[in-house]
């Protein structure tokens, strides 16, 4: 035992010195580390992988579109917020300020990411040798156009980042008309590029972009071009055509799921309002899960939408039917009610309603909007319809009327730019 201690003592001194030296050597070591959690931009070349960046940016648009379906739908009263979170309830009653965090969370942020993401793709691929027929570029142009168009429909004004330089920089304030003009430009490019390409997706992009273009002209108030574009779409697009957000029930990728389903049936955040329940229209399906069903806020009864019944239910972005609506409204506003009356008749049959007998243009418009509200319930159309048509838009509560409990509806008719943007990009409040 004594020998062991003696031996140990003998080795300890050099051990101390060795450890001291090792410590000093450590001091000379490099600080290289690996952090595989991060995707370092230096390791990735966007221009080198067109499909990847284009399809990724498309998903940003899909995400933004679904956010507009939900939050725009709340703002336009297609459904009510049963969330305990006050910010979302305030959006639902159109009574909030630009500081409301959900403006950015639910609307401006997703749309901005979709716009900037697709603009980056356009920038990266436009210089390519096959840019004139690059399907990835066409896809990005179309998604960019839809995103800008949604921004114009939703907000009192907008802004688009400038990605042309080495650094992405904020852009100036743009009026809705300026935004729509930009959207028209990108839809037109998408049609052109996809038209020069071949294959099923090229056809789909051309079709969707044509319908989007018509919608954009209509939103701008350019009814003549809207009617022309809609007619062109109707002439070239299959009557069964729809351009959808594909969704997934993959639990690991909930952002790719149907967001309206997510926030209604499994989580009782959003509920169907009395107005829509009273329509009794198969195009507005809902159910009452029972007397104990209450929304998350403990105030509203949890009337659940039945349009999207799973995480993987697709969400319609554009369709032949929409082209018909655009054409009908554009023609009606250029003194030709025949398209509107025909469409109303067909859609009332679909809804199980009696024949429409109105003759006044205003009544026809209101009825056309009513049918649109039913056909495109929770499809991000109603807010645009309301922005274009004001008081003619049905199923909206008057300012001051009761929202839920002691809360009342406010006076907003469009969404202000969030302070997250105006604090960092001084574009000012809406004029």
């Amino acid at each position: 035992m004594t020998n062991i201690f003696r031996t140990a003592r003998g080795t300890l001194r050099p051990a101390v010195l060795a450890l001291g030296a090792a410590g000093l050597m450590l001091a000379a070591c490099k600080l290289d580390v690996t952090n595989p959690t991060l995707i370092d931009a230096n390791q990735f070349n966007p221009a080198g992988d067109g499909p990847l960046i284009s399809l990724s940016a498309q998903t940003q648009f899909y995400s933004a579109f679904q956010s507009v379906v939900r939050y725009g739908g709340l703002f336009a009263e297609e459904h009510l917020s049963g969330a305990a979170r006050t910010e979302v309830a305030d959006i639902g009653r159109r009574n909030f300020f630009s500081a409301n965090q959900d403006i950015n969370f639910g609307l401006f942020g997703p749309l901005s990411r979709a716009i900037a993401g697709n603009k980056n793709v356009v920038k990266a691929l436009s210089a390519g040798a096959s840019a004139a027929s690059d399907i990835n570029l066409a896809r990005a142009e179309m998604n960019l156009a839809f995103s800008i168009e949604l921004m114009a429909e939703t907000f009192c004004q907008g802004t688009i980042a400038d990605v042309s330089g080495a650094q992405t920089v904020a852009g100036p304030a743009l009026t809705p008309v300026q935004l729509l003009d930009s959207s028209i430009t990108h839809f037109t490019r998408a049609i052109s590029i996809a038209g020069a390409a071949t294959g099923a997706e090229a056809t789909k992009i051309v079709s969707a972009a044509k319908i989007g273009l018509a919608r954009t002209y209509l939103q701008k108030g350019d009814n003549a071009n809207a009617a022309t574009a809609a007619a062109a779409a109707i002439a070239s697009v299959s009557s069964s055509f729809t351009f959808n957000v594909p969704t997934s029930d993959d639990a690991a990728n909930r952002p790719l799921a149907n967001q309206i389903y997510s926030t209604s049936i499994p989580t009782n955040l959003d509920v169907v309002s009395a107005t829509y329940r009273a329509l009794n229209d198969p195009r507005v399906p809902w159910k009452d899960p029972g007397p104990a069903a209450v929304a998350q806020d403990g105030v509203l009864h949890d009337y659940q939408q039945q349009k999207y019944l799973s995480y993987s239910s697709p969400v319609r972005i554009a369709s032949f039917l929409e082209a018909q609506y655009v054409q009908a409204e554009a023609k009606l506003k250029t003194a030709d009610p025949s398209f509107a009356l025909a469409l109303i008749a067909a859609r009332r049959v679909a809804g199980g309603q009696p024949v429409f007998t109105g003759t006044l243009t205003s009544a026809i418009l209101t009825e056309l909007l009513s049918q649109s509200a039913r056909d495109f319930w929770l499809e991000a159309k109603k807010l645009g319809d309301w922005r274009r048509n004001g008081a003619a838009e049905p199923y909206l509560s008057a300012p001051g009327s009761i929202y839920k409990g002691a809360l009342t509806f406010g006076t907003l008719t469009s969404v202000p730019i969030p302070t997250e943007e105006t604090n960092t990009n001084p574009i000012g409040a809406c004029p």
Partner: protein
Amino acid sequence: MLTTLACAPALASAQQSAFSSSESRDLGAPPAGVIMARDAVVTTTAAVADGVVTGKVTDAKSGEPISSVTVTVQGTQLGAVSGNDGTYRLARVPAGPHTLTARRVGYAALSRRITIPDGSTVTLDFPLQPSATNLESVVVTGTAGDQLRETQPAVVSAVDVSDLLKETSVTNVTDVLRGRVPSLQVVSGSGMTGSTARINIRGAVSYSLSNDPIVFIDGIRMRSSQRDLQYVGGQAVNALNDLNPDDIESVEVVKGPAAATLYGADASAGVIQIITKKGKLGLKRLNQSITTEYNTIKPNFTPTTNYAKCTAASILPTSSSAFCSGQALGTIVSDNPNVRGGTYSDGDLRSLRYNAQGGGDNYGFFVSGSADDEQGTTRNNSLVRRDGRASLNWVATPNLGVDFSLGLSKNDYKLPNNDQGNYGSLIYAALGSVTGVTRDASGKLSSGFAAGINVDAISSILNQNNTIRTTPSMQLHYTPFAWLANRVTVGADMNNSEGTNFFPVNPFNWYSGDQANGFVDVIRENANIYTVDYLGTIRTSLFGRANTTSDLSFGSQFIRTTFEQVEGTGIGLLTNSANLVSSASKVTGAQVYTDQKSLGYFAQEQVGFSDKLYFQLGARLDRNSAFGTTSSSIFLPKVGASYVISREPFLSKYSSFLPTLRLRAAYGSTGRSPTPGASLRTYAKAPYITDLGIIVNGVAPRNPGNVNLKPERGTEFEGGFDAGLFHDRVGVEVTYYKKTTSDLLVVNPLPPSLGFTGSPLVNIGKVENHGLEFVVRARPLDRPNFSWDANFIASTLNNKVLSLGSSKEVVTTSLGNVSNKVTVGRALGAWFTRRIQSYDPATGVVVVGDTSEFVGNVLPTLQGSFSSTFTVFKNISVYALFQGQRGAKAFNVGPFYRDQFLGNSPEVILPAGQGGYNARDRALRLGPFKTLSGGTIGGTQGADGYVQSTDYIRFQELALTLSLPNRLAQAVRATNASLTLGARNLNLWTRFQGPDPDVNVLNTSNGGIAQFLQAELFTAPPSRRFIARFNLQF
């Protein structure tokens, strides 16, 4: 043969251990205040080279033996600790002259010089004088090696945990710190067992980064951050509380850059060093201690009751409403689902702890084990802790020592969903509908909670975190020459955690979404920190003068932190027994890995003059992988001076009144590094979906990064004095500090229109904390059968953002219309809202400001505590601790939400005079509102009144400790037996209208504005404990 020799007539005091700062001073006339040595007895036992020193340490005043006194031989690794009878034994002391020093907190150190003849046994007793100043105690934190407190220009606070546990009712490490260190604020997360607390020292130094201090155990960096439990709202568990306080000898707290420079570019929020118990060299016997403890834990609050008025539909005879059917319209009904369901009930703690300390001539050992089973105040809240620690300190030769230490602990936490989280009992009760409560066929009322859940559903959710923590360390001390000391420290803190979140399959449709049909989420985490540290100290005399000393210290420290997390989620289970992730119908996985290295070189020169004036100059050069391998090093300087002016002859005439007076001033710099990879431009994983529904991995821009990123730089000046009054029976410590963080790391919020999901950190702005700290330790009464010890601690804090680059305000977060803001001229995270300006009784209109205004601070501007110990007949002690704060406000969100959104509070529903608001108070909260400039304004205004003062005084601790008569102890063959009866959180005096101001809704957030969200949001307040502890020593 027994020989008695006379020792040197006047020996210097204030000697140090092997790593202490200065050589023995001039052996001439002792300076004022230094205790003179007495005689020693030498017994020659054998003709061998080494000798033995034995003796007894006693209280010079009472003559009572003192245990746990460290007796060291200067310039060697030799040391011993006195036992319960005050005796000590030092073997293998080389023949020749030596200086021995005895030290213990609460007593003035005493040094004695002795010459040991060959093979002799020398008896040397140490009668120690009580002292409240502790200037001659050794500190190991914030210094280059062990140093005397009197030489240190900056304050290092110390808590003697070993003594504290004998007489108080603390149960964990954060309890140890609460109210015992000036400027150290502990904010509870909630009253749930195991939930974390947040610690701030001298205010907040950062907005983006954590303000938690870094923590070391015996020189090894440890993980001190919170471990999140998913889905439980603001709840987390704190790695700091994995430690058994019974294993801790003392805790030292370095408060800021002035003292923390040597800890490098990560220490600006302060450093906590935990010094664990070690063996007792020379004890020659085994001291064992067995402690058993039982706590009763009271919830200490009554959950709020919901009120409602019966509606037309609910009063119908056909209505299913249990409370309203058949009632008159508007009948007021109430319900308290939590009380009715018995959500909260008394919990308890059962604890058994054992430790043994012993040692021989050249070794000491410490072994401990403990088992704690704590049941919290809800069914699914518990902590099961098994802890063991072993250490061996071996003095291989007089100049070579090695310490081994190994800590093992297993902590199994279960916490309920709480705060604003889904299925939190308080928020789901608040969201419940009173009129919606029904009766089943047996007449039993339905739950009354939101979403149809009940207490069984809430209690069946499992949030569990099981952690095995291993902390090995080794420290080598080598003193090849009396003037050169080396220390190498190598160690690790390895945390292996498994977190589980489980929603059982049930036939009652309790849960929705992914949790509806059985859900399990398992996270396995390896969080490891490795430390390699070298320190060398050269001590010499300067200018050939023995009383001018130089301590040159130098070293290097390398710390690597790795974090790996693997997560599996299973959705949809067939049975609750087959609850593996892989048993689920849908399985997902995720993985995270980060790695961070920091490397620092440091050097410090300390010059001492006549053991009364010390100058210190030091610096550290740091690099950190967070900034990339090409970034330049960070230079962190420090400078300071300490002057024990009471040793000057010109103050000797005041020595009876002012025996000790030290002046000190220090300036230093440290930093704070961001998270790994913070400077990089990054993409985020963003899977995309094809038209065929196939999911493919994609990317999206995440963060533009910042190649110019630097650490936050903290600089601090502190100055003050330590004084001993009235024969050192009263110790006073006064410190002024001014701490500035420049290059403040702020998340530069990019315009959302740029399309990034993250925002880069930038170095802009400056934040300042300044304040005054005041400590008084006193023994006002000291009679043979009665003594009274009292401590008073107070500190002020003025926290202010000085600049934010080109901005005045960069970040806001909001709850309702109340925001935490980072604003120039205000404290970090200050509260802002539209203030109520006026109320017109005629119209009922309330006028609010046009813009948000400052309404209060989050951090208190004044904190204080008062503790007192009465000891009667030397065997009965009564300890009490009061703690308080003022100057801060918290957002009382619960009533705000119930009043303004749910409308189910008694104040809203009940008529005025019967518990309801009067017209004025109702209008102030519910409007109608107009702005000051006359505009109509909607939204939920009137939040002003819910941002409430958190001024409070808390009766934090009360403990009665009875040392049982020896005959009772001896009946069970013990040497001592004691019984402690105590309580924690006995009473609270506050104007805050929630259950308790001391909660933090988002305590899981280690950084960002969320760490300033001092808000009560359906959070269970701190519990109340009643404690019985029985201790036996053998």
